[in-house]
Amino acid sequence: MKKSYGLPGLFFLLFWVTPFQLQGQEKLAVVKNREVSFLGVVKSRDDNQALIGANVLVRETKAGAYTDLNGNFSFQLPQGNYTFIVSYIGYESTKLQLTLTRDTTQVFLLDPLANFLEEIEVSGAAQDRNISTPNLGAARLSSTTIKALPSLLGEADVLKGLQLLPGVTSVGEGATGLNVRGGNIDQNLILMDDIPVFYSSHLLGFFSVFNPDVMRDVTFYRGGIPAGYGGRTASVLDIRLKDPAADKWLYQGGIGLISSRMMAEGPVVPGKLSLLVAARGSAPNYIFKVLPNPSLREIDANFYEFTAKARYRFSDYDQLSLTAFFSEDAFRIPGDSLTALEVNATSTLFKWRNSGASARWNHFFNDALSFQVAGAIGTYQPGFSIPDEAYAAKFSSGVSQRYVKASLKEFNAKHNAELGVMVSGYRIQTGDLQPDSETSAINALSLPDERSTEAAAFINDEWTISEKVSVMAGLRYSWYSYNGPGRVFQYEPGEPRELSGISDTVYYNQGERIATYGGFEPRLALKISTGPSGSVKFGYNRVIQYLQLVSNTTSALPTDRWKSSDLYTKPQIADQISAGVFRNFKNNEYEVGLEGYYKLVQNMPDYRSGVSLLLLEATETAILQGKGRAYGVELLVRKTKGRLTGWLSYTWSSTQLLIDSPYDEDRTFSGKYYPANFDRPHVGNLSATYRKNRRVSFSANFTFSAGRPVTFPESKYTVDGIFIPNYINRNEDRTPSYHRLDLGMKIDPDPRNTRRWKSYWNFSLYNVYARRNPYSLFFRTKNNTAYRALNRVEAYRLSTIGTIVPAITYEFKF
């Protein structure tokens, strides 16, 4: 058993071991032939890049392995004839027959599917990963998959791709962020090569900040979150950028209606240092300039971003990678309707900027034990400015996290264990307003920064107890401190917290702790095989979230602020139990999974009506906290092989909030559970790709979801001649349901071309049958005459994208 790991010079396997390998090795022990070692390297033919986590299968022995960080794998095999099948997500599988008589080394070059448009895959490096690992609610999307989906205006987008998975929704088209299993958008931990990303949207929410060219893959956990991750209760989105090509310079780019992009990667010091740089930018202002309405002509929007990654190989045992990221959006709108600053401005320019950097050092002691340290900083800085002389002002704010995480990983046939610690510092610049002209009537106003520390220690083990049973058990202890300097307002006891009720202020100095919280976060997942192609799984996890986004609009705005937990605002704690049944058919060609979950969240935030959160120091006068509960059932059926591939997903779910308070006026809707804004009880997605030949492939998405909750007014009344709607029960009604079909076609004009220059055309049609899908329903009283009887109330339906949207993009590589 141990032999396969003990050979010096062989590389450890970075990822998990599947029951395959165990099977193979047990058989092998019976055979008495002389053993030889077989060492393989798997690379992409495209850029000669090592493929990490590729799946290698020996047909004759049914042994399996994954490639390590350098694309290496190894087997100890008796002499004989073998067929090696190598597969990797986004690449065409390759098969090789070899006669092994002595120690052998072999390079496998895989062709990327982008060349052959063969298939798209949602998840899983291993063909049967969905049934063989204890992971529940995990999925992996490759960059190839994301690019193959038909997209709005041809902009391939990872967040839109994730919305096709069960359990993932958004408030609507153009809304920021994802709602995962009933979670708010701030409950998703988004990491890009370890860099925390606090706001992931361009253009207020139509596109995401992740450049599809530089992404390698995305691992997404909506349940069964390993103990190494923490701080966000609903999901983890771990985006890995590709490693820069190590042996020659490659260039890649694309031209689209909204954005254009360019990437270069290659070796700087051959064999040691390689580098990748990418840029993407848009300048769509001209679209607004031709509009007839002058107030729309004033709209100005653009964005750009840069990504760079360097990788340095000290040796086979040590490597360092560095990633840096910068993106900026500018959005000018007439008026100041979003700022709530209530000075009547003629226009407001919004800007938001994401920046971050990370470093990760991996050291391998031997093929089973490794150590890694990652340090990262991620900053998000939104702001706006008003040009008008009388009220010229600039507002800036920001949130940043810097952390160091160190962990030790032990990997062998039975265990995939990780033990680590993490220390994070958060700093929130809650808001700073400065006059921007000599005559401006705006006073400078700067709120104190919020500083906090989060520390965590964790242990996580994926333990293969037997061929039948494996378990992922993890425990995380997190501790949080809200640090001085700062001040805390005291309120009159027995009354709702209001500014006018502040009775005293307590000051804290630097180094003093204002509030501390902490707790254990157990993570557990269990897999029991029900046969060679099926399993059942159970999971439980608890996650504590100390930082939240406070936003009192339907969808978050770029300028919404983050808030550290303090004496009044308590951290959110989510407990989720889930269970699932998984089964594969026809040699893993079809995968079927059915999962159910129940989740309880403590201290979900809601907001008092009529209070602006902008530049409010005493946020406790605006934030109410309550309970959230969510439950649902998710079904996923996938076809993973053949000319036609794709998946079908269906989710039934319910998400509800309860805001309770001893004070009547703070008890939103009489202290009853009400549906959350993003609660959609039925969601179905069908996504399919058909490869006609090497030249042409087609793709299609169909999306269906039940309506979003809306609140209808119960009655109306007038005060001072103004009609006021009275809402009693929040979110009791729903918009009509949503459905949409998108089609895409990808053409490789010259598939036989093997020269360096390659180009592709992508065509897409979004919302093919031009359905006016409702985003929301809203009510407006016609308040335009003084005669009350004529002021009829009308209800309207708003559709964000109410027509068919064609798009074309051109991509090239050389």
Binding site: V343, F778, T800
Partner: protein, 357 residues
């Protein structure tokens, strides 16, 4: 409105059109709730308190009045001021015996015919800072179809009180003395071809009469969170450039309480919802009246005590070189009626001389 434009613009930006379609909704029968709409200021009364009931949302009818209630206001010195019932649920104070005084606190008491007792939270009457100046700025604008739509922006200047939180609401009204109390059409028969033509028929006012123009449903709110102690400069409204004559306006500055401001700000947020992603979630807006014996009963509306400062101005419109657009009535034959009409008192018209005229 603006929020909506952003959505539309975003969609257009995406090369599309967003759509807003009217829909039908049925609203169920409701349990009517008591609605209170009352105010005390430091200006001379009478002040009125209206009592009504909430009505179904899609109802076009006039609010049902609550009659035969006993309504009185108490101040913090124990004085009681009774309100006399008028028509349609309106209760009025006696202007000879009661005028609000800044620095006093007022509480509204209501006892309905059924014996239910309601009471407002005590309202402190805060003095409003005086309006410093009203000035105008000429703005030239051409509509998309090439027609000049020049206008004047009217600004208010007022010194904010430093060191305290101030909440404001502004209202304005334009008064124009009316020459004709009625405009109509009169058919005049052309004896040559036997066809009748409609001519404009104007009827004189028999007495002084003013036409009132105001923004009836505007909510112009402000606070000094970012401008504490500064000279506030605020765009109040825009007036057309249709004449070189002075434009008479009365501008009022209200000092609201924090609660009153939050109430009106919530109203503003909820009535301007456009269905877009920036909407505030709808919620019932808490007022400041409650049932003395049943805290669970929802009472809508509010009773406010606010200081008001008022300024009347004649806005000059003759400093613009460019002539105003021609009067559309030039060249139109106008018939004058031999009779005259009285000035019918309404929200559009008054026979009482406006303050500062």
């Amino acid at each position: 409105m603006k929020k909506n434009e952003i959505i539309i613009a975003l969609a257009l930006f995406a090369g599309l059109s967003s759509c807003i379609d009217p829909i039908d909704t049925g609203t169920d029968d409701i349990v009517p709730k008591l609605v209170v709409d009352g105010q005390v200021t430091n200006l001379p009364g009478p002040y009125s308190v209206k009592l009504g009931q909430s009505e179904p949302y899609d109802n076009a009818s006039i609010t049902r009045a609550v009659a035969n209630a006993t309504v009185y206001i108490m101040d913090d010195e124990g004085n009681r001021f009774d309100l006399l019932e008028g028509t349609r649920g309106t209760y009025r104070t006696d202007s000879t015996s009661f005028q609000g005084v800044p620095g006093r606190t007022y509480t509204l008491h209501i006892r309905t015919l059924e014996g239910k007792e309601y009471q407002s939270q005590p309202q402190y009457l805060q003095a409003a800072p005086p309006i410093d100046t009203i000035f105008s700025r000429f703005v030239e604008e051409v509509s998309p179809n090439g027609i000049a739509r020049d206008f004047f922006e009217i600004y208010l200047k007022s010194q904010d009180i430093p060191g305290e939180e101030n909440f404001y609401r502004w209202k304005w009204a334009h008064y124009d003395s009316l020459k004709y109390c009625k405009q109509g059409f009169a058919p005049v028969l052309d004896p040559e071809n036997g066809l009748s033509t409609n001519y404009r028929l104007y009827t004189y006012c028999c007495e002084p009469c003013w036409e009132i123009t105001r923004c009836n449903n505007c909510l112009d709110l402000g606070n000094d969170q970012y401008t504490d102690g500064r000279m506030l400069e605020r765009l109040i409204t825009k007036i057309p450039y249709d004449s070189r004559d002075d434009y008479f306006m009365v501008v009022e500055q209200y000092a609201l309480s924090e609660k009153g401001y939050r109430f009106w700000n919530s109203v503003l947020g909820q009535t301007n919802n456009t269905g877009g992603i920036f909407d505030n979630p709808p919620a019932s807006i808490p007022g400041n009246i409650s049932n003395v014996n049943d805290a669970q009963e929802q009472v809508l509306g509010l009773f406010l005590a606010s200081g008001v400062s008022r300024k009347s101005v004649y806005v000059k419109r003759d400093y613009v070189l460019k002539p105003p657009p021609d009067d559309p009535n030039i060249g139109v034959t106008i018939l004058l009626s031999p009779n005259c009409l009285g000035c019918m008192e309404s929200i559009f018209r008054t026979g009482r001389k406006p303050p500062g005229w």
